[in-house]
Symmetry: C2
Subunit: 198 residues, 2 copies
Amino acid sequence: METEISTEQKILDAAEEVFIEEGFSGARMQQIADKAGINKAMLHYYFRSKDKLFELVFAYKMKQFMPRVESVLQNPALSLLDKLDAFVEAYLDMLRHNPRLPMFILSTMNRNPELMKSANIQFGKWIIQLIEEEIEKGTIKRVNPHQFMLTLIGMCIFPFVGRPVFSAVFELKKEAYELILTERKEHVQAYIRFILEP
Amino acid sequence: METEISTEQKILDAAEEVFIEEGFSGARMQQIADKAGINKAMLHYYFRSKDKLFELVFAYKMKQFMPRVESVLQNPALSLLDKLDAFVEAYLDMLRHNPRLPMFILSTMNRNPELMKSANIQFGKWIIQLIEEEIEKGTIKRVNPHQFMLTLIGMCIFPFVGRPVFSAVFELKKEAYELILTERKEHVQAYIRFILEP
DNA sequence: AAGTGATTTAACCAGTTGGTTAACGCAAAG
DNA sequence: CTTTGCGTTAACCAACTGGTTAAATCACTT
């Protein structure tokens, strides 16, 4: 049985694909219409303009990109190490299912930094505070929280945004790079423990 | 005294700025002409087409982006740790002078992976081989060379491509982020020693 | 001064782009 | 059966885009 997909949703799906592949200025309304299997005028009927359509797609993708970790972070039964482990686990899984997401968000934000409004931002402060508390308590080694988080997030994201360059420089074929991505989770988690465990 | 700048060079400089700011599809030939202070027809007189002009700019920027480390890597007077230290030192300095370079290269390569031809690629193999040799000799700890290099390069590049997102999430103002970039070098070098020193 | 080749300009052009419009189809409501 | 309002379409449009052209200007040689 076929699930009915509304025209609106077909447009959003197509727009997502095209914007991620081509970026805002590279994307063409006609291309989105074709991919959605509809008339170009429908795009403007449902979403007034290219800008509006892009805003919606971007906000949706941004939500996906920002880790939803409030519940994990606030779970008192978990140590900081366990929390970070869970974060890396979930985040790397999500990225493997959306490998082009990071480049889409990062490159869009680079040309349009004010777009950040559409995102939930709170968890940054929480993590920093959490790290500082644990350092005070002496349960983890003393590190610079921002430098540490920059490295940690970079370790998750860079394999995806840097893939073409990295696999060219180190002459890694598709399968070899896939293997690296598979093993990345353990590697990052080992890094966390190695850096933080007293 | 004023140094004469050829029209050709003025165009290249302007094209570089515009392509880096806007990307290929976002860049406009008229904008490049305006920035170079010349007529649009001159662009086509000196460089046949937008594609040709972009290719030149990209190849030039790619050369800048790829670290030139042959001499350092092959200097037998330096230990691997010293070589990596020197690499990080030089590379982070270069990036601080060209903060938008990484995003330009990475996003272009993501949409156009075959452009890699224009780059010198050899140093990847050398570094991997070097790391494996040192592991054999027991002078550094046993690590997965590719995972290690992915982390190391990511540590250098991510602060630049991820800046807008990161500074928003952690609510870092310009000065705070600049400080982090300043301290990044030491942080990366400390990481290298911490991971590799037996 | 006239010729010559490279450089520069304004005007132009055809194709593309985001966006609009007016008519049409069609199901539900009256 | 007619009306009403949403969904859909083809045709259209003005602005913009990369690219061209023919004439003008400049620097230099003869």
